[in-house]
């Protein structure tokens, strides 16, 4: 029975509407997956030399043992963000003659098929066999492999359980993050050492390989816990949405902007109340932290400010880009209604422009503290901000008028390529091209600061010309309105 249900899932995967549509995207995702897999395999088999390179002079096995728990605690966080609950899959079967326990089993099996489960196996098992197995014998190697698989299973079902709980009450999410943060602080300030704990546990495993039975017990407990919870809560209603009362909310401060404000209020609700845009918003906050990668001291020392500017454009524009890539497509389901309503097209486009501007402004304000790393970041970021509100936003709207694919708001955001077409790829390419073209002439031949000033000033001028631009964009939209509508209606 379970294999039959799983075969349906396979069909659902291959026959999903956007599966066959764009071969280019399929190939791209496939290559990306292969690449990641190859990297993981490379790291997995080369783990020994990596450890020697990173921690020279240390005992390889002890370092390896100390690292395992680190990985699995990071794994938990990653799973919390990325792992999906396969609940919708069960809906059509609830009313069929299938036992509840079978359905629970099906859900558990279905959930196992995620790359998050493949990754730790590829990373750790090669070394467990080639490194540890060679040194301590097959028994210990089996103990390691079993433990690592068990840890994987523990994390997997623990996260499913926690995520299902967060669906019912968001306090679980708060609790989860508090625990994670406490752990991070505890380790960072040496209150306890995850590395020592991990090393202690796994070197113990080397001495007594049978201790892997303990890990098995944990994995079974985690599995049973999740199954029991599912068994008692297998109601579509409870799984798919919280039972909390929905109340109408008003954004009074937006009302003075008239129709534009009303439309922005609807867009804000769109982001907050739908799964895909909401998770994209959460990811955007993570993008804000990219400054730690982009704003390297070495760039300032070697005067490579162009790189910093690019980082600034990314950080202050990522909010905008992640929402803007589906600017109209977010509303694809009710685009008919919007177009037939008494909403003037120019006002509609203008509301989008203001919304994008607001996104960039928020990102700019939130990322100002990077100035503590180096004060030069602030003027560069402001130039990047002007570029984003004056040029990026317009490009964003322009490419939205050329994007004909609708999307489903209720699906998760990660690895969801629904609604993605060539327009999105061209859009991200265009941002970099235009940004580069504005920066390079002065930045390359005069000085980086001249290039940055050029980007900022041109951005500001373009922003001030918004009415003129928006009139052009409205015309562009009208040219392709029917095509957009037709594309959005096709689901």
């Amino acid at each position: 029975m379970i294999s039959l249900l799983l075969s349906h899932q396979l069909k659902a995967f291959w026959r999903s509407r956007n599966a066959g549509k764009s071969i280019a995207i399929q190939i791209f995702i496939g290559l990306l997956g292969l690449y990641l897999l190859a990297v993981a395999l490379f790291v997995g088999f080369g783990l020994k030399s990596f450890i020697i390179a990173v921690a020279p002079g240390q005992n390889v096995v002890t370092t390896f043992c100390g690292f395992i728990l680190y990985y699995f605690s990071f794994d938990i966080l990653m799973r919390f963000l990325l792992q999906e609950l396969p609940t919708v899959a069960v809906q059509p079967y609830l009313a069929q003659n299938i036992k509840r326990s079978q359905l629970v089993n099906f859900l558990n099996w279905r959930s196992l098929f995620t790359f998050l489960n493949l990754l730790p196996l590829i990373l750790f098992i090669p070394f467990s066999i080639t490194g540890i197995g060679k040194q301590y014998g097959a028994g210990v190697a089996i103990g390691f492999v079993v433990s690592i698989i068990s840890f994987c299973v523990v994390n997997h079902f623990l996260i499913l359980f926690i995520k299902r709980k967060t669906v019912i009450s968001s306090w679980w999410m708060v609790g989860f993050f508090i625990v994670v943060i406490l752990f991070m602080f505890g380790d960072y300030f040496h209150i306890f050492s995850l590395q020592n704990v991990s090393a202690y546990l796994f070197t113990g495993l080397i001495k007594n390989a049978w201790l892997c039975l303990v890990a098995i017990v944990f994995s079974v407990a985690s599995f049973i816990n999740n199954s029991r919870f599912l068994f008692n809560n297998l109601y579509v209603e409870e799984m798919s949405k919280s039972s909390k009362e929905k109340t109408a909310s008003e954004y009074v401060w937006l009302q003075r902007f008239g129709h534009i404000g009303d439309m922005i209020a609807v867009d804000i609700k769109l982001i907050l109340r739908n799964k895909r845009p909401r998770s994209l918003l959460m990811l955007s906050f993570i993008f804000l932290a990219y400054g730690f990668i982009f704003y390297k001291q070495t760039y300032f020392e070697t005067n490579m400010l162009g790189m910093v500017l690019m980082g600034g454009i990314f950080i202050t524009g990522m909010f905008m880009a992640s929402f803007g890539q589906f600017l109209f497509a977010w509303q694809s389901v009710h685009f008919d209604g919007i177009m037939a309503s008494n909403a003037n097209i120019k006002t509609f486009i203008k509301s989008k422009f203001y919304l994008l501007t607001a996104f960039s402004t928020i990102a700019m304000l939130l990322s100002l503290p990077y100035g503590f790393i180096n004060w030069r970041i602030i003027p560069i970021q402001i130039a990047a901000y002007f570029f984003n509100v004056g040029i990026h936003s317009l490009l964003c709207i322009y490419f939205a008028t050329r994007s004909y694919k609708g999307l489903d708001l209720g699906k998760a955001a990660t690895f969801n390529y629904q609604g993605t077409g060539s327009a999105q790829w061209l859009y991200s390419l265009a941002i970099f091209l235009v940004g580069g073209l504005l920066y390079l002439p002065l930045g390359f031949f005069v000085s980086p600061w001249a290039g940055i000033a050029a980007v900022g000033i041109l951005g500001l001028i373009s922003f001030l010309l918004q009415d003129w631009w928006l009139a052009i964009l409205t015309k562009e939209f009208m040219l392709r309105k029917y095509k957009i509508l037709e594309g959005f209606r096709e689901k």
């Binding site: 949405k241 009362e245 929905k246 109340t247 109408a248 909310s249 008003e250 129709h259 009303d262 209020a265 609807v266 609700k269 769109l270 109340r273 739908n274 509303q331 389901v333 009710h334 685009f335 008919d336 209604g337 177009m339 037939a340 309503s341 008494n342 909403a343 003037n344 097209i345 708001l409 029917y482 509508l485 037709e486 209606r489």
Partner: protein
């Protein structure tokens, strides 16, 4: 109110809509009947400028609907759930639509009082987003949102199909009232011949995109239609 000149739309070689000439006068209440695929919804979409016609034009108050946006101010339509914003509560949606017509919240609240019996306690303060309402209740939200715009032209696609019997008769009553008191031009499509002959003064029968009969409703209309649809 509406003038249709030689409008045509072809989908994949199949004629969806092909109407030579049609005039709809202000204050008329018109029913559109025809089997599935006859082109009723496509015709509605053409009137709302949601699809591009292959040929011909539609004039609303003598202005082409494709070049002017004026029709939006006096036209309200509900075709399917695609007209609702699914993640808003019904109240939020009503306020939003109201505001697009520059009507205040208090004004809308007062207006909604008139819908209390039509809503039957399932819509206002239901604590649900529109997407969580049943199909029938979604339809009620769509219809109410149209009527609160106080339009001159109202278009509803199969409004009776998803409603319970009491709501159907309430809707009929409402439509008649709107027509009598406000001289609203109303265009509805339906498969329910009884209702449509009850409400409408004029009935257009569509087949394969063409209007094959244009009837002023009389005693015999129902029989005539029934004999057409008989298999």
């Amino acid at each position: 109110m509406l003038t249709v000149n030689n409008i045509g739309k072809v989908y994949n070689g199949k004629i969806a809509v092909d109407i030579n000439e049609l005039h709809i006068a202000t204050g008329e209440i018109i029913g559109l009947v025809g089997n599935n695929g006859a082109g009723k919804t496509t015709f509605f979409r053409l009137i709302l400028d949601l699809i591009r016609a292959d040929r011909g034009e539609i004039l609303s108050k003598d202005k082409s609907i494709t070049t002017s946006e004026d029709w939006k101010q006096y036209t309200a339509a509900y075709l399917d759930e695609g007209f609702l914003i699914s993640y808003l509560t019904p109240e939020e949606y009503f306020y939003f639509v109201g505001k697009l017509h520059n009507r205040s919240k208090a004004d809308i609240d007062e207006y909604l009082q008139g819908f209390v019996s039509f809503f039957d306690g399932a819509i206002l303060k239901s604590g649900k987003y529109i997407r969580d309402l049943s199909k029938g209740n979604q339809f009620k939200v769509g219809i109410a949102a149209c009527i609160l715009q106080n339009p001159e032209l109202l278009m509803l696609d199969e409004p009776f199909a998803n409603l319970d019997p009491s709501s159907q008769s309430r809707l009929i009553q409402m439509l008649k009232e709107l027509h009598d008191k406000k001289r609203m031009t109303i265009l509805i499509s339906s498969h329910d011949l009884n209702h449509i002959t009850d409400v409408c003064q004029r009935i257009l029968l569509m087949e394969k995109g063409r209007i094959i009969k244009d009837l002023q409703t009389s005693e015999d209309t129902l029989n005539e239609l029934e004999s057409y649809f008989k298999v």
